[in-house]
């Protein structure tokens, strides 16, 4: 455990020593901020409109449904598809390029300690992004009365979603010494998986259902509604496990199996 934390700490420090962490956080915060602003402004406009028309007998607009959910499930999940490859691309590619992988593999560390350490480091950076997101949502509590429980479910789902992407991205970074290629592969794969989600809107039936299952973003829907579905939980944990397992296999191949 100590080794895992040592590696995680090194990874996190490395992120903040390079422009990458700041770039990702800035872009993320800007997008999040803009989307938050425009949803809230729109929400306000519609609320006033409804009041002006005497309420129309409809219940007041829900903050959760109109601001939080669309941002979280609609926008930020997609933004992550682009940003997470930027986070994961250096994990193993840079070690291979600079030769420091030789240091790690000749030290008394197990492969799993190295992999988990790196994964945790990247997850810690992702946690910062998640906190940024939820700070915006926390602001809503000052001015309004959103429902807290869906928010918590959403937070959990978001973390799992991010973890899944990170695990896959980490696997991709073992393919090459070149960070750019690792990032590009991640981008391409995530885009494809996102398209699967998009396409399922048009296809029902068994093929559609399979694709919907595979698409990473679909399993977040329940979380964003406040529902913690065991199936979705298992799905994300499986993807994380898969990513970690494949990274381990890649590492073995790197050493050249006898």
């Amino acid at each position: 455990m100590r080794n895992v934390l040592a590696v995680a700490g090194k990874e996190l420090r490395a992120y903040f020593h390079s422009p990458i962490a700041y770039l990702v956080m800035t872009v993320y915060a800007l997008i999040c901020g803009y989307v938050f602003y425009s949803s809230t402004a729109f929400f306000m406009a519609r609320t006033f409109q409804m009041e002006a028309m005497g309420g129309m007998g409809a219940p007041p607009l829900s903050l959760n449904e109109n601001i939080i959910r669309p941002i979280l499930a609609g926008v930020m999940t997609v933004v992550l598809l682009f940003l997470i490859p930027l986070i994961t691309m250096r994990l193993f590619a840079e070690e291979k390029r600079s030769g420091t992988i030789e240091l790690l593999l000749t030290s008394p560390l197990t492969d799993m300690e190295i992999i988990l350490g790196k994964f945790l480091g990247a997850l810690a950076l992702f946690a910062v992004l998640e906190v940024i997101t939820f700070i915006y949502f926390a602001v809503l509590f000052i001015y309004g009365n959103p429902n807290a429980k869906p928010l918590l479910a959403g937070a959990l789902g978001f973390l799992l979603y991010g973890a899944a992407l990170l695990a896959l991205g980490m696997w991709f970074s073992t393919f090459t010494k070149n960070q750019i290629i690792a990032g590009a592969v991640g981008l391409a794969v995530f885009l494809l998986l996102f398209l699967l989600d998009w396409v399922t809107a048009y296809s029902s039936g068994p093929v559609g259902r399979v694709m919907a299952y595979l698409a990473l973003t679909t399993h977040f829907d329940n979380f964003s509604k406040g529902v913690i579905n065991l199936g979705d939980l298992v799905y994300y944990l499986s993807v994380v496990t898969f990513g970690i397992f494949m990274t381990a296999r890649s590492l073995e191949a790197l050493k050249g199996r006898p």
């Binding site: 080794n3 090194k10 240091l103 008394p108």
Partner: protein, 315 residues
């Protein structure tokens, strides 16, 4: 301390190392010589547990590197050809990280860090980013990380590559000082360095061992005769004649030097020490003897002889 038994390593169809067997005794400094591509780095990578062997076994400090990798790695310090440093970390951060992953307990970390930085002369640059350091400093940081956990075994791949002459001497001193307490295997192209720093030498070529022994042993094996050099001032023809008549001498070859002094290269029978007789011969005839020394093959000659042959010699 290091036992390599019938080590073979294949990269796909390529045979990098073939049936290599040798041992490094506790406290010894062993030189690993060979041309580029001979298999030195590959062998070292197997010893340090970076690569698994295709066939054969390697044991470090008694632990098999495949069966008990953690135990073996804990006792090994490794400096690869290019030091495995993180350019964005400072020297302190880097050595602290390496110390932690090598298993140094937290309480000892600080003192070990200070100790090893002093030993490797990097105390001036502790707070600088490694990426901004000169090659010489980076190499020393690399050496520091190999030493920080005080390993029983040190594997050094070309430890003086890229250093300037002053730094080379300092590094060599450092390595020599490690003998006894540490067991060292170092690879090099720089043959005089191997002769100066190492007690024994293993010569490898095209993946196979071609010779093992001390530089003297190798000389004797390869040369078939003893060589003595004398610098004598006297009538050349007479000197040559007189030396030739000493018992055991097979050949006397004069090489002209300046100021009337001639250097004679004397080949004597293998195993016979004719130095005393040669000296007496010169002094008896009242000639001036300026220098008398044995001359082995230079390690360069040994290296070239061994690596340009197709098969290793069996005497």
């Amino acid at each position: 301390m290091i036992e390599v038994e019938n080590l073979t390593k294949r990269y796909g169809p390529t045979l990098a190392v073939s049936d290599v067997t040798f041992e490094v005794q506790k406290g010894e400094i062993l030189g690993f010589l060979g041309p580029n591509g001979a298999g030195k780095t590959t062998t070292m990578r197997v010893i340090t547990g970076y690569l698994p062997p295709s066939e054969g076994r390697v044991r470090v400090a008694g632990y098999d590197v495949v069966e008990e990798p953690l135990e073996a790695k804990r006792r090994t310090g490794y400096l690869p050809e290019s030091p495995p440093v993180y350019p964005d970390m400072t020297v302190t951060e880097y050595l602290a990280f390496v110390g932690r992953i090598k298993g140094i307990p937290r309480r000892e970390l600080k003192s070990r860090l200070e100790e090893v930085s002093e030993k490797c002369a990097v105390t001036d640059v502790m707070n600088r980013q490694i990426g901004k350091l000169s090659k010489g400093y980076r190499q020393r940081v690399g050496l520091a990380q190999a030493l920080i956990h005080n390993p029983e075994v040190l594997v050094l791949d070309e430890p003086t590559a890229g250093l300037d002459p002053k730094q080379i001497i300092e590094t060599r001193q450092l390595i020599k000082g490690l003998a006894g307490r540490h067991t060292v295997i170092l690879s090099t192209h720089i043959l005089p360095e191997a002769a100066k720093t190492c007690q024994r030498v293993v010569v490898i070529n095209a993946g196979k061992i071609v010779a093992v022994g001390t530089p003297d042993e190798l000389t004797r094996r390869l040369q078939g005769f003893e060589t003595i050099l004398l610098a004598v001032e006297g009538p050349a023809a007479d000197v040559k004649d007189k030396l030739q008549r000493v018992e055991g001498v097979n050949l006397v070859e004069p090489h002209d030097t300046s100021d009337g002094r001639v250097t004679y290269e004397v080949h004597a029978e293998k195993g016979k020490d004719v130095r005393a007789e040669l000296a007496r011969a010169v002094v008896e005839s009242q000639w001036k003897l300026y220098e008398l020394r044995t001359s082995g093959l230079s390690l360069e000659d040994i290296f070239l002889k061994l690596t340009t042959k197709d098969l290793s010699e069996e005497n």
